[in-house]
Symmetry: D2
Subunit: 406 residues, 4 copies
């Protein structure tokens, strides 16, 4: 376990913090730094990151648009599971980490790097998600987590380090006009946490939100949309077939305009403390509702209930950073096996924060009007219910225990 490092692949955003890390890595480890910057739909230009890296003399600069891969291979599989962490959270941050980790490792192998590094702090979940990904994909990789190692523990120390190393500092960082919370963004969501949000009794400031208008500011008319699914994946909106990333972007747009997808939550971090997060997941919120509705007429009851029972575990795996684990992969097999027939169209009303299912239809529908009808029917024999109830009741009758009726 030598600490000797020759070349490190850094997940580089181009911002102040990862620029400081870039310099610090060189200084501390006397190693070459390769930067990797990905477009996951966070809404920032990538070219400034390239220029900055060039300015710092980085020789190997990787800049990649991973939006389609992100949505197709990470977001959609997760939505096939109806994953919600702690009953409500759509896992927008968690699901981006496995892809970044995977690409870092692939690049490390490509450029012959022996280490990887990231800019996540020592208190959060992201460090775990990155590093479990690294170790799961390349067991002997050296991981450098600067926030856990360095002495730059105050804002002042960081700014001093930046100044000493000719790292440009934008005005807001200097002037104390930093946003009063920390954010993370990708095509699925934006998260806000920390600082002004640390008091869980305080309501977030309306000005904070970036992707959604408030329900109050949304249009006064209903927007009706239709989402089409194939094998559990959304493939078209209002009849227009779209690639995964394009489809999600379109849903983000229409949902955001209608005030849909905000969430204010106190969640349990894997590292042990509770944390308050506020999220905007506009398109994802529509997808979540629509996917369940699509399953409601195409999925077998017991397969669906099995999925429902396993979902919290699956969501926990993703939240905790175990995407690249045997158990997540095995569970995905189970989930995906149920999605073969999840095909059809769901119609939804969007209105001031509400997503309301108003119809669903499918070539694979197993809803049988013939069976459920209140009218006289010929396919269902009501007397069967007597035997069904009698035998289901038998163990209750045999086990009857007056004392237990409480």
């Amino acid at each position: 376990m030598s600490d000797q490092v020759k070349k490190v692949v850094l997940a580089y955003s181009g911002g102040l913090d990862t620029s400081i890390i870039l310099k610090w890595l060189r200084e501390e480890y006397n190693c070459e730094v390769v930067t990797f910057t990905a477009d996951l739909g966070q809404g920032e230009e990538l070219e400034p990151a390239r220029k900055k890296a060039e300015m710092f003399g980085v020789k190997q600069i990787f800049i990649e648009d991973l939006r389609e891969e992100f949505v197709r291979d990470y977001v959609f599989p997760m939505f096939r599971a109806n994953a919600l962490y702690e009953g409500v959270y759509l896992l927008g941050t968690s699901i981006a980490r496995p892809l970044i980790a995977k690409r870092q490792i692939e690049i490390a192998e490509e450029v012959g790097a022996d280490a990887v590094s990231h800019g996540a702090t020592g208190k959060g979940n992201d460090q775990v998600r990155f590093e479990l990904g690294y170790y799961g994909l390349k067991p002997n990789v050296k991981v450098i987590a600067p926030w856990r190692e360095w002495k730059l523990n105050s804002r002042t120390a960081l700014l001093n380090f930046a100044r000493e190393h000719q790292i440009p500092i934008s005005a807001d960082k200097l002037g104390g006009d930093e946003p009063p919370y920390s954010t993370d963004a990708n095509l699925l969501h934006i998260s806000y946490e920390g600082k002004a949000l640390e008091d869980p009794w305080a309501k977030p400031d309306e000005k904070m939100f970036e992707r959604t208008v408030s329900p109050q500011n949304a249009p006064d008319a209903i927007t009706t949309i239709e989402v089409e699914f194939e094998q559990g994946n959304p493939v078209a909106v209002n009849g227009e077939r779209l690639s995964p990333a394009t489809l999600l972007a379109k849903l983000n747009d229409v949902a955001g305009k209608n005030g849909i997808g905000r969430l204010d939550l106190v969640e349990n971090r894997y590292v042990g403390m509770k944390s308050r997060g506020v999220y905007e997941t506009p398109g994802g919120t529509i997808l979540s509702v629509a996917h369940r509705a699509m399953e409601s007429i195409t999925l077998d009851r017991n397969a669906g209930h099995l999925k429902d029972e396993l979902m919290p575990r699956y969501a926990e795996m993703i939240y905790n950073g175990y995407w690249w684990s045997p158990e997540r992969q095995a569970l995905q097999r189970l989930i995906d096996d149920t999605q073969r027939t999840v095909n059809g169209v769901v119609r939804l009303d969007l209105y001031k924060g509400n997503v309301t299912v108003t119809g669903r239809k499918s070539p694979n529908s197993i809803y049988s009007e013939e069976h459920v009808t209140f009218e006289a029917d010929t396919v269902y024999n009501q007397r069967d219910a007597e035997g069904f109830i009698k035998l289901n009741a038998l163990r209750l009758r045999l086990g009857f225990d007056r004392d237990s009726v409480k």
Copy 2:
């Protein structure tokens, strides 16, 4: 298993169908009928049912206001579990059945009846819920389910039977002005199903809804409320302490005015077919959101996750009619054990169908601003995270298998 019946306790609503059953039971079984009519908050007067029963010469008539017991001992325990059937349904119909079954059995023992009867059809879940309750509480009771037994299989046959037996028929039943769906109501919800709703692609008619205005017709201003919890149960709204039924009624009122609590769903019945249901659960929707928020700062992570994983099973037990079963009771012990510290206040914004948590506080809060802060802290050692990650990654590293990375 003789079919000889002397006295039967009938769950009697006073409506046409159960009046026909009353007469039919006497005729078919030549037995005495005892009627039981309960107020569970369905919003109908009970006195007409009494008068009708008297008119039919019933000697033992039980009329009871069970609203407080219903909410305290059935609705609240279920909400302590955050129960949702198939991810979304708040189980409003299911949870009323165990109480009715219990009272019927208690009355049967009090009046020396050897049988019980109900007006649920042979296609639905309610027959199962009633009868599993009966058998679970009195194993040798004789159960009579007229809809599965008689020949009155068409509307015409029923009306003819009513006319022959001097049962009054209200105008809407005669004139074909019946509502185009079937409903069930209690203090927790109203359900609509069947007839016009049988096409799952058809949007419900706005005129159908009784307890909620549409989000479009709700006020343009936010209504902010605070709900207080003790041991997982709501005990006050806006600082005013209320009994269980009064509290739920108050929440129904404020939620209904704000367009909250509608749900349109295709669900899986226990008897095997899929069925489309539309529900209004205004107060319950607020409670569901508020209870999770209260837990979010008071409940241990792993206890909460265990609850989440068991919840679908618990909800299924209630949906399928197993309230009076050993497994539901054992699971309730687990759930209730976690609720001791679920105390405090949740603040929510209600606005045109939205229920938004904006704050939560608790004397038992285990949220630690000290630990989570982005500021420098003294209670958390970031270096601990390294060991945490290293050991959690160890099995992934040892088990690394290049072929498995798919």
Copy 3:
């Protein structure tokens, strides 16, 4: 749902009961009967069944040796899951039913039959397993279960029917020398239930057992064997590669001689009552122990724990007859995904009823002597454990509640 039946495929053993059924079907339904007799390793000749069917004038007679398919596609997948019903039962009867049902349905489609029939009674699990298989594979098939329909409810009535219809009756059936219990056999096990075994306090008679000697009568010397696995399936014994059925037969032989595989159990039937069963599963008992041992050095911890948690559900699915269900198939995907690396050899001592693992080795072993050693090592940093414990303890510390320490 017409009861008009033209041609029925009967699961026919050639014994008295299914011969009576054959005749009764023709008489009751005035239909043609096609017989299907399968060799699943029950240890009976098939030719007598053919001759009897010919004697009764059956035109289409299907006689098939399904032993390899049975073991490969039913027994082995189940053992990959380590399936045990109620903690102990290896499901020997349950696992044979899906294959018989499948072949009956295939034959029905081949010969243009509109119905299928079996000889299981109305009290047991087998009727459910057969019929859920039939319906799951051919939804509109007509199922005839004579034991639930006919009036031949006493031994005398059956014998009279046999005499009237020229069905040969063997001496033991006549003379009251029937075995004092009911049995079912296939290559995986023999079961005994009913009659003398109905008192759960009574010890079974040693003379009952057919496939195993008692531990007392087993050899005084240990027999050591090695079982080799590939992808979770046993492929060789003592280095000799064997087909699935041949391998199981060989293990049955060596285990039976060593007094291995008896089980005396009170189990819960799906139809609601408890039932006492005694089983001999000699080879299966070895396989069960050996498979877990093979997994112990090749399977990831969390994948294994996930399997363990889902196993009771999987076993219940098989016991209750849901082999041909979407949920069993989805769960099998999960299970099988974990078995890719379950390769290697397990060494076991067999001795008077005991199966003792004494060694396991694998090309895919993820056991790391280097990590576990008590000697000084270079791969594991003991200090990592501090952070691991600290962060795992954090939620316990923050959530500490003196009142809860009970």
Copy 4:
């Protein structure tokens, strides 16, 4: 988080390692050491530990016989759950740790100590179990784990330290005659691991075992015993009522003589590596088999299946050290709620390693010979099975999908 320690309570065995720790703690922390030595049935005298502590000048020496508390409040609750880790392991080491941790914390509060310490290494599970217990019961306690802190990383360094500090070294430690494995013992079991056992293909030496004869050396005659249960706890053997510890000791004796309770296992440690362990749990093995048999006639099917599904999680909680957690306590509520009727007697044959159930009876039996009988009966209507099957099959029929039949 000051490292200033004034007084520490050490889990002290009296052996060489914990004696070295005692001295090291004083030297390293310049603090007072309080020793705590418990009799959990490990089979060693406690007085030598007292004398040694006195010799080292310890002022507060706690020596306690905790055998009854250990079995009653830790072993029996765990056996009520039928807990098995990874399908086979009876958790003999794991279950002793919570009690030791609890007493250390109680003593710390009694004597005003600010720290606790133990002798477990940094590679194993025991450090986690001790420390999660400490933190769970006294969140701000200082924990000292010498093996993770000191420099005494070789046997030589330890012996040198002992010599320098006048710690007596027994001959076997000096002469290299140490046992070729590490052991842990209490009334429930003895464990062996490490050294000669580190090769998972190597069979353990017969001379290693202390509590059981080998099956080959066990008596040639069957020993029959009866174990009586009340509320899921064993209370008598062969009609003789015994206290918990006495009962377990008696079962250890009779089982050990009959060669019962050995287990050879590769298990997954919580800290991430696989480890080979060999265990002797003679009495526990009988209890495990007997308890399931007792439940088999007294426990409701669905309550039992729910327990079975939750058991692996419960066992994992204990194995990983979460006895003193909210989730274990909540789960215990569920388990214990099912045990109220688990009363009666189980009869077992013990013979050369085998534990065979031969009978079970109970005043609370819900086994109904009347229902299960092969004879004609009056309590069960076989026709009920038709409706039961038809409705259970309905979703399979409606959901039939030819492509899915694989």
